[in-house]
Symmetry: C3
């Protein structure tokens, strides 16, 4: 991507090397040695917040102003022109013509990607539904880097709501990319979603171990864990570790525990919520007394509710306010980087600790659509041609290019019928041998039989009728 | 008006020459050759938005910041101090003492004029109810000028909601002033209001032709039209045109079509609305295939809903995003002009293409009041002495100086009774011969008999009782 | 307090000398002779408004921008992260790490003090419930100073809502400190609260006179008064005045009348409110015709409703719009002072006209709590150890260090039981002789018997059971 019009939609938009470069810049900027007020002089940032978030918005606005730029802001945009029926694609195009960079938070998953496609200026995703919040991840990584020197090999325990907390999913991928060992300890009913775990295994090539499998003795010494994600097996030295060595490693203690709050606004205000809340972990002085946590940083994306005791605020291991404070220099560095205001030297070679996956793309004006009701492709269908990455073939698994939710379409066909007769417009089961036979450029994927039939296709003998649910 | 404390309330506040000067300045500013960040350094703009409008507000704020000025903003002001019962006149005075220029949007018609009277600093009307939105008109004219070289003689078709769309009324007067030919094509039930047509005829001295009157053959070639407004008959060469020549002229095609959206928020959410919506025009590729539209710019004030097909977005004739983008340099130029930050040379002579009308004024502390329930004079009666222009005498027609809505008061009297006895306090029908007899400085006008009687007047024999409705 | 991290929570946070220094700076800044745009260049102000107040917020933001600083703003914060259950203490810490100075308005009384304790940057109270609004007081005093040369010895009449109007309480203390004579004329049912009067008497050592006690003749000449507060008896020459001389003095007329609006939002929308409203005073031309008001400035904090007639707007005595306008230079001077951007020379000696009281402090993690349901200590109990000033011993009277509301706790005990047996954990009546016997450092205060018993205390024979209410 050419610097000067690069967007940050997911943490994957930045290579490890770019992230490290942004951190160096942030170090420089927070050292206070120099005045950066002329760096973005005359540049305008728009902050478009379709969901309220005082903290995140203010952090971006302060960062832009510390660079000498200015801000125009639209908060709580629900009673504005958008209620006149305007699309966010149109809004992106207009606001992009007024400003130099756009920061957007929106409840629809994938919304930031759509805005980036239309704005014509760099776009920063400040949270799109439950999808991503990549600058939070940058702050988290930057805090770890600053406190522990490097991220590789750190043992990071993730606690609490691992299901809905968007920050924790991004963080997990990023930690894996940088070679950290991740320990999962979810609150009852709020486990890490399967698709996140699968992605970790498939793309980051790490090993996921149920903690119950480990040596019983070790188990008692460490705080209760659900699973351990051992990131990379090569070239990292941990690769040589057997399970036994992991247990020894873990007994030395974790480097950080990352606590998330219960995402109340993503749950209904129901009995179920009350139940989840009751069992929610609370980290306090007693919890931290265990020797595993002697040198563990306590991290949290804030705002906290009851999951972090106030008594920890003066504990030197408590990092949560520092995380927030570091948000300003990190965002300053990011803005300067995206605007090309500060040259950043990178080798350009892929420096992922784990190899970056390249998946084939499926993109057609008809056929399968993303089934996630919060996906931006559902809400702005007029502006978007659905696009997917084919992340698995057995079973056929598509990942939406916008919300990144995965779907398992049931039927396929070939576009070679173009040259044939209507008779050849047949669809087959996705798990039939036809998936291998159809050339990638001819592949058509349908989410349902009715989708296929709407396009004039008929079932082949390799098409089993859908089960009625 | 002295530059440095001039306001823009209606497009009539600027002469054609001033508009052209602003456009030249906008050209200069959008050329990017120079840095304008010192032009308004230290100046503060207040944006007071009593109705939401992210787009318009952001355009103004970006313009001010591109000039190096800063902005303080109050959006969606309904839960603020105004709900404590404060008048907008008081607010204008206070905010005027804090800032250097005020931009206001308000649902009451004429509100911006009231603010300008009290603020003590330049005020820009960013939309006052259904009355005016003059900077939108400036953007529209500027786009035409930039694309077509000049506005004089252009044939502009206005499509859609010609009744409620405030932008289209201002635009109509402005196009007439600059000597364009205007073609009306309203959506069913949403025709151009009579008072706009009358004003065009009387003040701009153009000719309004029902399209049905024209040659049948021509009619079939051009897209269905309701009426054509042929602007000026002198000195413009079109003046020599007979109806036949107009038809020839029109067959050459229109220069721009200006599409408006259905002003849903001005309608009730009723069956009627659904009806209006059903028949609303949609401009798409098919529509534009007609040869009349070969070189027609497609314009729209945005946001659009369904009246402009997305497929046009890549058509080179589509101007709507360009219109929005040009809003920034136009507003930069306007702000610099109103603040006196940039000297603008104008001859000062009236350069209207059509002669500017000067009407006598009627202004008294009692008697006739503006009957428009959305007029600011109704809501802030304590601060405003009603003021009207007498735009016609047969029938007696007053145009409110604030909302510009017209009213037809029924009764008149003379203030010469001051020197006489109560007996002489008589009121007469407005359409009686007394209207000619009473000296203008003595004229008293009443909206109703009860108004007159409340002031101690009695009916003369020239006063017919009001019909009870 | 060290300049550079000083906050303004109540007007008492500034000495008279500092206030005078701020006024000199404001004079300098409003003279327009110099450009102050570099004074706070690169500094960021956060305006956090948990209650709407366009006027106050804009005044602060304009002031910061006139100093070359920038602003990040969060208005009407109720649907934001705070609704996720976040404490304002946490928010203060985070926003303090983003910005250089915080301006806060919040409905909880004492909220600004809490924010100042956690923010780590200077905090300005822009109104905390009915407690304080010190910058309004600064504007009021500055207007008096500018118009009358000095505040000492001025006769200021306070009219209207003296009960709920927060501005008027702060103003009263400040006027007393500067040696003005204050005349009270409350609207029926809205008298000055007892605790304000008691504080005036006890801390400012002035004399409060019921107006009815004064000479009957005088009474008729002056507009109806409830009470007169004669500020200081020493070293001011008025100290020598007998009641007779006061009457003579008053007949010479008042220097200013300060009108407040009815604080509707602090009342229920009830019949009672309608009643209060009916009798509310309205200052108009007729009112001001009395010779006592010949040179009286008319002051009002704005927004006004009906209590100030529009006809006064052009009267040279009317100061209310000037008060508002002077808010910008006063706030500029204050911000520059608090940020240490402008050195201010003060002798450092206490220059109160009346001696400043120093009260003993009571602060314990248990026992008496502030009973004011709007006090921040009630809402953020996790973050605050209750703290009180012991302002009286007979009856025992505590003033909350946050909301400054007074409370009269009923029971006391001694912490010397620590060294004794449980038998010695006894509580006594607050008005028993034990209050004198217990050493200040050992004093424990309970609001109720149940409070005491919850801590394991038992009634002594000096403890009368609470009356059941």
């Amino acid at each position: 991507m050419s610097i000067g019009n690069k967007s940050l939609i997911t943490i994957d938009d930045l290579s490890n090397e770019e992230i490290e470069a942004i951190f160096s810049l942030a170090d420089e900027m927070s050292s206070g040695g120099e005045d950066y007020l002329s760096l973005c002089r005359g540049k305008i940032m728009a902050t478009l917040f379709f969901e309220p978030s005082t903290r995140t918005r203010m952090s971006f606005e302060a960062a832009m102003q510390r660079l000498g730029g200015s801000v125009i802001s639209a908060v709580d945009i629900n009673s504005t022109s958008l209620s006149k029926g305007e699309s966010i694609a149109d809004m992106a195009r207009v606001v992009g013509s007024y400003t130099d960079i756009i920061v957007i938070r929106h409840p629809w998953e994938g919304a930031a990607k759509l805005v980036a496609e239309y704005a014509g200026v760099p776009v920063i995703n400040a949270g799109d539904g439950s999808h991503e919040h990549p600058t939070q991840t940058l702050c988290d990584l930057y805090t770890l880097k600053k406190e522990k020197g490097a991220i590789r090999g750190l043992k990071i325990a993730l606690l609490g709501d691992l299901k809905y907390g968007r920050t924790v999913h991004s963080l997990t991928y990023a930690l894996a990319r940088f070679g950290a060992i991740i320990l999962f300890r979810h609150s009852p009913g709020l486990e890490m979603p399967k698709h996140v775990l699968r992605r970790l295994s498939m793309e980051c090539e790490g090993m996921l171990k149920r903690y119950e499998d480990l040596n019983q003795v070790t188990q008692k010494k460490l705080f209760p864990l659900d699973a351990i994600y051992i990131t990379p097996h090569s070239p990292h030295q941990l690769a040589m570790m057997t399970d036994i060595s992991i247990q020894i490693e873990l007994k030395k203690g974790v480097d950080a525990i990352y606590v998330t709050r219960l995402q109340k606004e993503r749950l209904g205000l129901t009995a179920e919520e009350q139940e989840l809340k009751k069992d929610y972990p609370a980290v306090d002085k007693k919890f931290l007394k265990e020797k595993e946590f002697k040198r563990a940083l306590v991290m949290h994306p804030l705002p906290r509710i009851d999951e972090l005791a106030r008594e920890l605020d003066t504990d030197p291991r408590s990092m949560y306010f520092k995380q927030a404070a570091l948000g300003v220099p990190v965002r300053m560095a990011l803005i300067a980087f995206l605007l090309g205001a500060k040259k950043v030297e990178t080798s350009g070679k892929d420096d992922y600790f784990v190899p970056r996956m390249v998946y084939p793309t499926y993109k057609r004006g008809f056929g399968v659509k993303c089934p996630n009701p919060k996906c931006v492709t559902v809400h702005e269908a007029q502006f978007i041609v659905p696009e997917f990455k084919i992340v698995n073939r057995q079973p056929l698994t598509l990942r939406c290019a916008y919300c990144e939710q995965e779907t398992y379409p049931k039927y396929i066909a070939s576009s070679e019928w173009h040259d044939g007769t209507l008779e050849s417009k047949r669809y087959h089961n996705a798990n039939s041998h036809w998936l291998q036979k159809i050339k990638p450029e001819n592949l058509i994927i349908f989410g349902s039989e009715s989708d296929a039939q709407a396009q004039g296709f008929k079932p082949s003998k390799y098409a089993t009728p859908e089960e009625k649910g």
